[in-house]
């Protein structure tokens, strides 16, 4: 194993532990903080794969903005503490579904990509390369995403404002 793989394994293990704690946490604010751990480790994996622009976007948007939105959502709603209050009764079935999905995915992955198969050569992922691609090949999807964000902005304002007229 190369040194990059050792670093990757460490990042991946911390991210997976964060994800496990996220879905089993007894306190909703702790769950949001475990989400930060998991998302930051995914950002570290992006950096390790040399996708630096996506990595910083991940840190800025996910860790900086989305988790703060989640914390606002948690503090504007009343959330009880305790596993029985946060989980439903189908925990065992959910665990079975998750384990079966994981087993199926791992089987397919090792079937399609052998362990001694092609390796990832960290290529380029600079803002320049990504920007050139967005504004040459993906202009139309980019405009569609900006329209989607505008629609989401208006929709969120309309949904969450108080109706004093009625």
């Amino acid at each position: 194993m190369s040194s990059q793989e050792y670093v990757f394994v460490v990042l991946a293990l911390v991210g997976i532990v964060g994800a496990f704690r996220l879905v089993t946490a007894k306190n909703v604010v702790h769950a949001a903080l475990y989400l930060v751990v998991s998302l930051a480790m995914v950002g570290g994996v992006y950096l390790l794969l040399a996708a630096e622009f996506v990595a910083w976007v991940q840190i800025l948007i996910y860790v900086g903005a989305i988790v703060i939105l989640f914390l606002f959502g948690l503090m504007l709603t009343k959330a009880p503490i305790g596993r029985e209050a946060l989980d439903n009764q189908q925990r065992g079935v959910a665990f079975l579904v998750g384990a079966a999905l994981l087993a199926g995915l791992v089987y397919l992955i090792q079937d399609a990509f052998p362990w001694d198969g092609p390796k990832i050569e960290p290529g380029t992922g600079t803002a320049e390369a990504v920007g050139e691609s967005i504004f040459s090949r993906f202009v139309l999807p980019f405009e569609a995403v900006s329209f989607l964000l505008l629609a989401a902005l208006i929709g969120a304002i309309v949904l969450s404002r108080k109706d004093d007229a009625t």
């Binding site: 793989e5 990757f8 991210g15 994800a19 996220l22 879905v23 909703v28 995914v42 994996v45 992006y46 794969l49 996708a51 622009f53 996506v54 976007v57 991940q58 948007i61 996910y62 989305i66 939105l69 989640f70 606002f72 959502g73 504007l76 709603t77 946060l86 989980d87 439903n88 189908q90 925990r91 959910a94 665990f95 579904v97 998750g98 999905l101 994981l102 995915l105 791992v106 992955i109 990509f113 052998p114 198969g117 092609p118 390796k119 990832i120 050569e121 960290p122 290529g123 380029t124 992922g125 691609s133 967005i134 090949r137 993906f138 995403v145 629609a151 989401a152 929709g155 969120a156 949904l159």
Partner: protein, 100 residues
């Protein structure tokens, strides 16, 4: 030099954890968090294949996934807060007005 199946297995574990979270949680905000976990697993795959194939399009798709996730969280939390204002609960199994 990172082996491709290693990264894909990491993403598979994240995705399966997200599926468990969506199915097992009853607090709507925690369900949304588990959905974020699944979206991140997909993005990890996109980046891994983008670098393995030397094709920048995968990273552009990952950026689009992040943008759509931001929109989804904004709308989702607005809906959750609206439900809380009307029903005094955000447990997804108690919001069954439209259930047949």
């Amino acid at each position: 030099m990172i082996r491709l199946p290693l990264v894909l297995t990491f993403s598979a574990v994240l995705f399966a954890t997200g599926v468990y979270g969506v199915l097992a949680r009853r607090n709507a905000v925690l369900v949304l968090m588990a959905i974020e976990l699944m979206l991140n697993a997909v993005s990890v795959n996109l980046i891994a294949f983008s670098q393995a194939l030397g094709e920048i399009a995968g990273q552009v798709f990952a950026l689009f996934v992040i943008a759509v996730a931001a929109a989804e969280v904004g709308i989702g939390l607005a809906i959750v807060i609206l439900i809380y204002r009307n029903r005094e609960t955000i447990n997804v199994d108690e919001v069954n007005l439209l259930k047949w």
